[in-house]
Assembly symmetry: C2
């Protein structure tokens, strides 16, 4: 563990900085600068004035523009009781056939397709339902479901495309309200995350901090919507399927803070995560393999809108080093420290 | 150890290749290609037709051109008994005050400055002396001692300079004969190694293979030249100073092969080193932190001439990962496996 903690420190001292802040650029970098100063060292940055020429920055603030342009579009909407999809929540043991009273599972949203105007109405009127709606689908949805919006922004980020030597593998649109939150996870992509309206609040941890996430296998479950009650119920997948996921929730409620801190000391007692708020017109470069947790603030119309561009990452020596680091993790600290059940005061559903 | 061996394999499978060969380019890459495909993934390559416009490629084959141009230059020459500077050789224990009969030390050359024509004469007539001369000094010597040759080649490698965003920190000239050999070591620089005449034969190991080098602290010693005898004698530094150095010599003589293989099984039983020959007109990109061993073949005039450009490396997440890997090494396999003495049949002076 001593060597691993030295790695956390050294990554910060050499390259990432100790302030907990993310480097900011006033304008887009050249492809060479972007590759040399950020992609190659696997270091995030926020770029201001990155999308000044996108008409989306003004037109998408207008609900009537969106509903008119997407009047005939059917879009994917993720429904959850509280805004948290792909999150850890308690599930009755009956569901899993285990003897413990309450176990955590990995809960996926109920996904439905509906006409866009209906989806937007659910998002901007969160109190009208017993669930939270988040229009998103990480399957290149911007280039399919939302193709009518293509003229309002760019099909790719030119300086990133030139630097990375390829077009984006997927472009995803996200329209949600202040309730939607994404739990800590990592992606195997170089990510250019452009906020169009509202603000996104990121917590970031470098891949060198993988132990601090307490990644563990959780049984998969999904929400299911009942037309009768208008409510979502959680159902375990059968046969059981297990998903490795980060155990740490970074904002525990006051009542559960002590429990969470003693369960996840490497997270709570280690270096602070990197923190940044990305505003409309700004782009976050979120490097491949970085753990990220996302919350959002809405615009005046109650929506947060963002597009992210996923570019293929290089599976190079950095990735080999990461896998080595994680393999050390499994043998030493993993099995001893991972929580298997949630105590009664768990706030995983409500923090 | 199992995880570390998996790292060696994965670095090769993902990025470096399993052939043991080094990727070859027919012409210089663009700065973006170089940065994206080689520097960022820390991957070597050999570039052909890289210096076609250098007049050095023809004029430096001519001894009289060199002695005329450098007639008034004084240059640094490294003298060793056998062509090996910065190598491990046995030293009598008396010198070190230890009780063992024969210990290895880290032996540096005797460095003298002499008029260039005299140095060249020593290099091309190796049988005229009891020592081997190698005109080299890794202190930016090309831009100082050899400045009269500057018009014959380039002050920097343009596509590398643009990619790395800086000019070379040092440019070194190397003029030697077939006897000179450089033992396994690594440098904290991005290295562009241009062969001008003759050939250089490299063995390369990625930084992920650090355990296979059996790096150990050796007492420093240096050769000292006696005018009386015309011979070099080895003297331990006093007070003692210790230099961490790779223990592995890759070409053991037939008699010592078994001993060497049993002492350094991780090297001899692991994946083969990457191997390449760099010819006149070609440039090797030798990535920072790669272990390299160098031998050379002479041109028709008996000389091998090369220039290397050292560019500052980025001390980023890759470097932090390397230090972490090396720290694991120290605790687990290092102390158990490192040789402290050399057996009588050691071939370290003669292989």
């Amino acid at each position: 563990m001593e060597e691993i903690e030295a790695l956390w420190r050294e990554a910060r001292e050499l390259s990432l900085g100790n302030s907990g802040g993310v480097e900011r650029l006033d304008s887009p970098p050249t492809p060479l600068q972007f590759l040399r100063d950020f992609v190659s060292p696997n270091k995030p940055c926020v770029i201001s004035n990155a999308t000044l020429h996108w008409t989306a920055l003004s037109s998408w603030s207008d609900d009537s523009y969106l509903t008119r342009t997407l009047s005939s579009a059917h879009v994917s909407v993720h429904l959850t009781p509280n805004g948290r999809a792909d999150a850890l929540v308690p599930l009755n043991s009956d569901e899993l056939g285990s003897s413990s009273s309450s176990s955590l599972c990995f809960a996926s949203a109920h996904v439905i397709r509906m006409p866009f105007p209906e989806a937007l109405n659910l998002i901007v009127n969160p109190n009208s339902t017993k669930y939270v709606a988040y229009a998103q689908q990480q399957n290149d949805c911007f280039r399919s479901e939302y193709s009518a919006l293509a003229p309002d922004c760019e099909a790719h980020i030119p300086w990133a495309t030139e630097a990375l030597g390829c077009l984006p593998e997927a472009v995803n649109l996200w329209i949600g309200n202040h309730l939607s939150e994404t739990s800590f996870h990592k992606d195997h992509y170089e990510n250019l995350y452009a906020v169009v309206s509202g603000e996104k609040h990121f917590l970031l941890l470098p891949p060198t901090d993988v132990h601090r996430m307490y990644i563990c296998d959780y049984p998969a479950a999904h929400y299911s919507y009942s037309q009768d009650t208008g409510e979502l119920t959680l159902e375990a997948e059968k046969p059981a399927r297990y998903v490795p996921w980060c155990s740490v929730s970074p904002y525990p409620s006051p009542e559960t803070k002590d429990t969470q801190m003693s369960k996840f000391p490497l997270y709570f007692n280690g270096p602070k995560p990197f923190e940044c708020t990305v505003k409309a017109g700004e782009i976050l470069y979120l490097p491949s393999m970085w753990f990220h947790h996302v919350r959002q603030s809405p615009d005046a119309g109650g929506r947060t809108i963002a597009i992210n561009y996923w570019y293929d990452m290089q599976f190079d020596i950095k990735y080999a080093y990461f896998n080595f680091l994680q393999s050390i993790h499994c043998q030493s600290t993993h099995s001893r420290t991972l929580p298997e059940t949630v105590s009664e005061d768990s706030d995983l559903e409500s923090d």
